[in-house]
Symmetry: C2
Subunit: 150 residues, 2 copies
Amino acid sequence: MQLSIPDDQYFMQQALVQARMAFEADEVPVGAVVVLQNRIIARGHNQVEQLTDATAHAEMLAITSAFHALGAKYLPDATLYVTLEPCLMCCGALFWGKIGRVVFGASDPKNGFKSKTAPHWPLHPKTELVGGVLEAECAALMTAFFRNKR
Amino acid sequence: MQLSIPDDQYFMQQALVQARMAFEADEVPVGAVVVLQNRIIARGHNQVEQLTDATAHAEMLAITSAFHALGAKYLPDATLYVTLEPCLMCCGALFWGKIGRVVFGASDPKNGFKSKTAPHWPLHPKTELVGGVLEAECAALMTAFFRNKR
């Protein structure tokens, strides 16, 4: 038996597991995991409706859980995987948490940070950003959700 | 005995009470209250160190508390008073919460949203914004805190 090293696609699959939990709960299907040294230390999925809290985005819940898991308020060595391009609020949270790396799946032209900010970007200058990992799967889940809503 | 109607200065004083609680706890002294129909429905002060959570800004704690208090995820009739100009994360939270009005005290040229965003502004289009209420008192508390740190 051969062990493969988990990669960005593997962890995005885990974020998709979270996103599907949101979908099943009739929440906008966004999921996130926080990874440190190839281990998932925190998970979150959108719970805005369940918690009646407009700030309960997947990233916010995952990053707060990661702070608690580590007892640390900065996460410079961690990577956050999220199925959708983060919004400004979540970018702000990732900025304050000094997260090392952000990997997202689908783009969000309506509410993603890229459409909202000037060239100077809202994440921490040391944060590495990767987009488009498993983009099709992440986007398909969103499309299916909003199709059901119509 | 004459009852006076509470005004912006009155509620900013209440936010300052929260900010002083943060100061006493050796936190960056920012405080916030959420007001609905002239009544305070939620309060918060910066607890980043105490909670070891970089997202635990006064506004985040106050707005989440307000969602819980009302059992509502939107706050179109509420006003948030905060002693310092909100950062992008907090503006994002106030955007998602569709808060009716934001009143802040001191400006924050380093991390406030005004220095970070393009002309299109990060709050909800229907959100009214007022700055500079009890600005001197709010700023003096910040100055005193950072003077102690040096």
